[in-house]
Symmetry: C2
Subunit: 396 residues, 2 copies
């Protein structure tokens, strides 16, 4: 039989990253391609204990249907946590629990866009979100970045030209580049957004994992006008398998997001919500995140120092202040050939093209993940990367 | 600020049923309005034990990112279970795990429809699915039913007129009517679908909860042409809070559904998938479902006999052979006024209008749920329903 696939899905390809998961069953390949939190960062003992408590104290609550908006005590707790720095504004905002931050992207696109609308993004940006937007038949306009974030003149120009439905930004330790948008640039972004009445979707999955430099206020925190939708998640600070994230946004938007959520997943797995709630009551979350950040700092520094020792100096790498990723750029040559050669040498990277707003664009860059591999894998994998660079003629 | 809500969400209202949840905090109201499985049907001890095993044996697997398609051993097990009666055809189909059956409706609409397409449904039908289809800006064409299912002549006429993207059907113990489509009618439906090359989305959340009459093969089982998408769930046979369902469908459709799933929830909560897998290995699922069915049989029979004793004979109720719902119909008068009077009398029903494909349509019917209330609540609630009928002048 021939099946008539919708226009929105006909040409949409699986995420290169999710697809890479399938090849990771080859145990001889060292993967710098995933974006998994370090397994040693999972608070397994606490989670085990909390789960036992849930099934001892409130088993029916953990199994029965629950509210679409999310578990009320978890919502209240998060509102309180986020209100301290205005990431939740009680007079203006609502907060709901989602199946990871990815569902916030889905709900935002569903609620705020019509087919053919434009979304402005950083270029490169997170492929998962780009594909979400593509699945709504949105046109993506990527804005190139420098070390401080997106180019403001190009941003303003794009807004004038395209009148976007919203702007999607990852200001902290961006996926894939590892770069952080400076405070000055954040303020400039908000000024331009305000001038043209544009909504911003701020994705902050890594914000709690800063291991270097000073905290920079989020766009949501700096926003005084109710134009920022904030996507948060516990995927990187508790466990991604739980699929627990949240949306903190102006109430008018959230109310529609609730209706959209009803029509897709009904509500987020309730055991995972109970678990997250109890977890936040049991640990000092700030200390917990600081401890996690130290794990990632160590891994990041190890990868950077090995890259410095083992890999051609012609290849330039970013130096993230947090998060899970860094970004390598070739001086010349063929990035896809480089990634292909690397995987033949048993080390997997993600080609930078996966992250471009324009699917037909080209880049000399690729993404490296340091959170998933062990220290030994980092050392050995970077060595293989160095070999690859040598084979392809990059100078040391 | 003014937010530009998308055309698809602008007029979509929250599901009346999900909204009713919010009022159930009034402990003096007896609710026949929900659709929750009976809490006493949850296998709490087994679930507690399995969850402890998971965190003792494979805690990282329960917390880490997993495959979008779902946990491979669970998929393999379900394929085997469903292959026995051809609900999964290994040569043609694929099977993926979703966040409940509702996500199957979402993925199907996303993959198979463009805005403005028509979906044919039973009339009335499950509001959750109708709203999913509405959220994709699909036109709904409802086909009225008799005791054996949809009117075949009207069905064929609608297909000829509307060339639907697909047909959505709940053949077993339908929500909201409790009616079951006969074998003869199922075959007629498939014949018509075959004649006009139409895809069918079969939603079977209650199929394992038959407590009366003989098993009838599913449309998926009867289909020889690969035109049925099958939506299954463990919400009614294990626990709805887990949000574990599945889609068994032709591979071409499932591959696109995987891409769509990547862009919304990434993957289904993995602990819940591990739990479901281990649960199916630990219990005899058929016996488990038979035991559950007896709980619902008892509740259904109690409600029916109380309705018979307490409520005006002018009001007619369906006699379901399984599932969670029955359907009452007034001979005349104002159904909304009846439901309003009932809730004033402290018993909650769902007005039948909530389930109409045409939101502006009218009906004299309402839905009753017997799975959630206790026996005592059934007896007392039906008494209040009888009082309501008397107040409104229906004869005994």
């Amino acid at each position: 039989m021939i099946y008539n696939i919708s226009d929105r899905m006909k040409d949409l390809q699986p995420s290169a990253i999710r697809e890479i998961f399938k090849f990771l069953s080859d145990p001889t390949i060292i993967s710098f391609a995933a974006g998994n939190p370090a397994p040693e960062a999972f608070p397994i003992d606490i989670v085990r204990q909390i789960s036992a408590e849930i099934f001892s104290e409130e088993p029916v609550n953990a199994l029965q249907y629950s509210l679409t908006e999310g578990y009320p005590p978890l919502r209240a707790l998060l509102k309180n946590m986020l209100a301290t720095d205005n990431r939740f504004n009680a007079e203006r905002d609502e907060l709901i629990i989602t199946a990871g931050a990815q569902q916030v992207m889905d709900l935002t696109a569903k609620v705020l866009t019509n087919e053919g609308d434009t979304v402005i993004t950083e270029n490169p940006s997170f492929i998962g979100s780009l594909n979400t937007f593509r699945s709504y038949r949105l046109n993506l306009r990527g804005i190139d970045m420098d070390d401080e974030g997106i180019d403001i003149a190009a941003f303003e120009q794009a807004i004038k030209e395209k009148k976007p439905a919203f702007v999607y930004l990852i200001p902290n330790f961006q996926n894939p580049t590892g770069n952080t948008t400076s405070l000055k640039r954040r303020k400039e972004i908000l000024n331009v957004a305000s001038k043209y009445e544009v909504i911003i979707l701020e994705d902050n999955p890594y914000g709690d994992l800063r291991f270097d430099g000073e905290h920079i206020p989020s766009l949501k925190e700096l926003d005084t006008e109710g134009r920022v939708i904030y996507a948060g998640t516990f995927s990187k600070t508790l466990a991604p398998g739980l699929r627990v994230g949240f949306m903190s946004a102006p109430n008018d938007i959230v109310q529609k997001a609730v209706v959209a959520l009803q029509t897709s997943t009904v509500h987020t797995n309730i055991w995972a919500q109970l678990l997250t709630y109890r977890f936040l009551g049991k640990v000092d979350y700030i200390t917990h995140c600081k401890n996690l950040s130290q794990i990632y700092k160590k891994k990041c520094n190890l990868m950077l120092s090995e890259l410095d020792k083992q890999v051609s100096r012609e290849i330039v790498f970013t130096k993230p202040q947090g998060g899970l990723f860094l970004w390598g750029s070739l001086p010349h040559g063929d990035m896809n050939a480089f990634c292909l050669e690397a995987v033949k040498n048993k080390v997997a990277l993600v080609p930078g093209t996966a992250f471009l707003a324009d699917e037909k664009g080209s880049t000399l860059s690729f993404r490296l993940n340091y959170s998933t591999p062990t220290d030994e894998q980092i050392i050995n994998g970077v060595k293989l990367l160095g070999d690859t660079a040598k084979q392809l003629g990059y100078g040391y």
